[in-house]
Symmetry: C2
Subunit: 561 residues, 2 copies
């Protein structure tokens, strides 16, 4: 699910002064001498390192709360989180930080020739952006948001339980107000939804994403329909022994296997942990040497625990692969360039690798040996089951083909709400109408409709698209890897993941935020900017084969018609 | 072993200005009106609450490091601890805190009639003391101590490994220098060793402890010798089945039992955790609702894991029993009045209860049922084994009778070092000579002699005596409980611990630091100030019976001759 320890703020360089303090901008009024900049940078690093260490503490508080904290500890933990958040904010907006950033940004264009490395220059850029964004956000707005975050979750839970959107509507409306005010204070020249998108995916905007989503909408709706028309489903019979329903998938065995699968992908347990929590997650205690993933397991269902483990292992490998020296110095260049890129790593390992036929050719015999009561069957049967395409109401359990349509629906609603073309009260009706249009099904109530996700309860607008950007980046990266790594699919079939892992480490993990956007990084690695065609090709070929679609049907999806 | 989340600083009220900022003192120059003091106090509470929450964060960082942190996380964790320590220090020495404390201390004697409760008044007293102590400690000295603490442990480990005290001597010398300078800055009128003692046990001084230790020295040396003369040891044969040495004390079974024992004493698992760590410990995440104990288990030895669990459960019950409302508000009155009192709670449950015949009359049959390979025997046999008196070199594995002699030896050496009557280079010789005098044995090398404890490596001087103060308080409190709780021993025999637990909760746990010293609290509860006779009585009666000593021998110990 989520990933902790990632930055949450974005743009800001050169946006001029405003808010509470003077902003840091490129090329503006520095009268110091370039020769001292190295010393200034060293001082900056000390401050950045402190912020990074404090963020590590925040991550640990969150991890502990999800994994090991006793239930009655929740109130005290909330107070600890609140005080640390204030401390972090004070460090992030410390005028001393501005005093170091100002001369560095004044000479930003000259840093290269003054002997600064690319990693250092990118760190200055990122640090200045963070500083400006945080300084410009009005303190009273931040306090209002913090308060609403706490009450918003409770209200959302209550509304979902009672299946009544109207209970939640006031929270949603207040978030919209807060976000509009925040955007006006921080990025007054930006569109409010672009401001939201850019928070999680640098450079993302409706101008970029409208055509992107348009390019996948029709092909995916069509692919879902074609698959539905075949009236084929996987043969689940081989899993429907009485053992399955009497719950014989021993949790201990599943955990042991999941740990093994994670370790064989390359997750390093001396620098990480693997635990259980209600919501699977990855948290980095702000060091590639302390990365913690969690998963969850069901006694009656085998695949979800394993796939969740592969997903979080993908996030975990990214975190463990981050530039160790830059992390050690607290340099923001070590961070991923956005949530889309982070999600691409989890989805690459979960979907491109972990849901491939090759992967299960290797691992299915191990599953069979581990659960002796499981009747004998071919890996191809299991491969079909985990790749079943079947529209459902709930995003988190959606298949690979429907999933982007769940995201598109949310993208359109968020855009409408923030642009004012959609009123809060109309969300349930619009939601249901779009579900019918995109997936051919209509939720029976708001709980399985517009109240299903926590995101809007905690003010996360603009986050959803990163799930689909991640899926597309994953397809693009895997295709590039196939070109560069000899016999990649054969490696997977043999359970050898080092070549792919090392390739990703070199091309993605250690590169961090060297480039300003994930888009730039993807272009460096694959030769192409964000482009859905590779993803559509992947889906149409994979599911065309699994569902025996005709060549014409497959081609219709692949070319995006 | 240790207890986290306890205060480490002590005296300071009314000590006048000095150090970096003006001190807060009672009755000095406040020109405000008493009527506003309630508001001032409310502001003070907000600041104290922040400090308390930050200390909770420190506790969690420590707990995680000991229990779950991946090995490679150690460097990043050190940086997190360092930055949080700086943040806590900044909060503790914040001038705003002084600004609230000053008017409250100026009217300290009038607070009662101004409507402040006793708990509130004690909190003001404690907060002022903390503030003065922390403000007066020179920053550069704190930095030197922090640095030495890190390198000191490494040097100590190396010296112990090589069994060579001379490697450790420079560290010890530097600690002595630092402590002398700290005492001179913080409590210039105090004796340097008294300053150390008072840090961990308010009001403790050589004037108080010299006669105290004198009163137990001869009786305990004599008791150890008398027992040795009997040449009796417990019959270990019943434990010496081949099962024992082939390691059949299943760790899983031991952990399950230990958890049960802890739960039956009353440890609340919804407000706490029970894990394993190399060194058993109790940590309070600064809330009675999140208290974490750990233990450790051996496959070849049954009693140590159980007794360590009872010990930590004793600490844990104290922490869970602290005044919940005061904790919630961060009021320092909720804290124990010293480490001696905390240790009294662990020792009361471990020794007075958990090593009594009554306890094992109830639990031995359960042990027998849990380890089916264990040959049948009476609980009395096991009771004798766990209460064997046998002088050994190592303090942490010492029996109840020898233990205070290990402490006395350290007390005398610390005092000599800080008063200048003992030179660092002479420590090993003096150590060995005292071991021979007190326990009749001489260590073969420094590793099993003066290098065995970590305390001097991390600058903990004055801490050791609290172990023995705890043992004496435990005996005094248990005796008082026996008078007030009908049939207390019968309750224990039946596994009913609620009466004793609730009694301790009311008399000790919830009272916290209401009184300025543990001595005062003990007097309130037992009617007597610190007095070793009750402890000597307990030991002579218990071991007189176990070793069939004559009435004359027992009486000689009991009257302290």
């Amino acid at each position: 699910m989520g990933v902790g320890g990632c930055r949450a703020a974005g743009l800001g360089i050169g946006a001029g002064g405003g808010g509470e303090g003077a902003a840091v901008a490129a090329g503006e009024g520095y009268d110091g001498r370039g020769g001292d900049l190295r010393e200034v940078f060293e001082n900056l690093k000390v401050k950045l390192k402190e912020i990074s260490a404090l963020q590590g503490v925040q991550s640990l508080l969150t991890w502990d709360q999800q994994v090991y904290m006793p239930v009655n500890g929740v109130t005290a933990r909330g107070e600890q989180q609140a005080v640390i958040a204030r401390v972090v904010h004070a460090h992030q907006t410390d005028e001393e930080l501005g005093a170091y950033l100002r001369p560095l940004m004044a000479e930003f264009e000259q840093l290269r020739e003054l002997g600064f490395s690319q990693l250092e220059i990118a760190s200055v850029r990122e640090a200045a952006r963070d500083y400006n964004r945080t300084r410009k956000k009005p303190v009273e707005l931040a306090a209002r948001a913090a308060k609403l975050e706490a009450t918003g979750v409770n209200t959302w839970q209550k509304a979902r339980k009672e299946k009544d959107f109207s209970l939640f509507a006031p929270v949603l409306q207040e978030w919209i107000d807060i976000i509009k005010q925040e955007a006006a204070a921080v990025e007054p020249i930006s569109d409010v939804y672009d401001f939201c998108l850019d928070k999680f995916e640098r450079g993302a905007s409706t101008k970029r994403l409208d055509p992107f989503f348009a390019s996948i909408k029709t092909p995916l709706i069509s692919l879902v329909r074609q698959i539905h028309k075949t009236r084929q489903g996987p043969n689940r019979q081989f899993l429907q022994s009485k053992d399955l329903f009497s719950g014989t998938f021993s949790l201990e065995t599943q955990k042991r296997l999941a740990r093994r699968f994670s370790e064989e992908l390359g997750f390093e347990f001396n620098s990480g942990r693997f635990d259980e929590s209600v919501h699977p997650m990855t948290i980095n205690i702000m060091s590639p040497s302390d990365v913690r993933i969690t998963s969850r397991f069901s006694e009656t269902e085998l695949s979800s625990g394993i796939l969740a483990t592969l997903h979080e292992t993908g996030h975990g490998l990214y975190e463990q692969g981050r530039n160790a020296q830059a992390c050690k110095e607290g340099l923001p260049v070590s961070r991923p360039p956005g949530m889309g890129m982070h999600e691409s790593q989890s989805l690459l390992w979960e979907k491109q690798v972990g849901m491939s036929a090759e992967y299960w050719e290797h691992y299915w015999p191990i599953i069979l040996r581990s659960f002796s009561s499981l009747p004998h069957s071919e890996f191809t049967e299991f491969h079909k089951v985990i790749n079943e395409i079947k529209p459902s109401f709930i995003r988190v359990s959606a298949d690979e083909v429907s999933y982007p349509l769940h995201i598109l629906l949310r993208y359109e609603i968020e855009k409408g709400l923030l642009h004012g073309s959609l009123q809060v009260a109309d969300v349930p009706a619009v939601w249901n109408q779009k579900m019918e249009e995109y997936l051919g099904i209509v939720p029976q109530n708001d709980a399985e409709g517009c109240l299903q996700d926590i995101h809007w309860g905690i003010g996360l607008f603009g986050y959803f698209p990163t799930y689909t950007l991640g899926a597309v980046y994953a397809a693009m990266l895997f295709q590039a890897a196939e070109k560069e790594i000899p016999e990649l699919r054969k490696c997977i079939k043999e359970g050898k993941f080092k070549p792919l892992r090392e390739w990703l480490r070199e091309k993605i993990h250690t590169v961090g935020s060297l480039y300003e956007t994930a888009d730039e990084l993807v272009e460096k690695v694959t030769g192409s900017k964000l482009d859905a065609s590779c993803f559509l090709n992947y889906l149409s070929n994979k599911y065309g084969a699994l569902y025996n679609l005709s060549r014409a049907e497959v081609d219709a999806v692949a070319i995006g018609s």
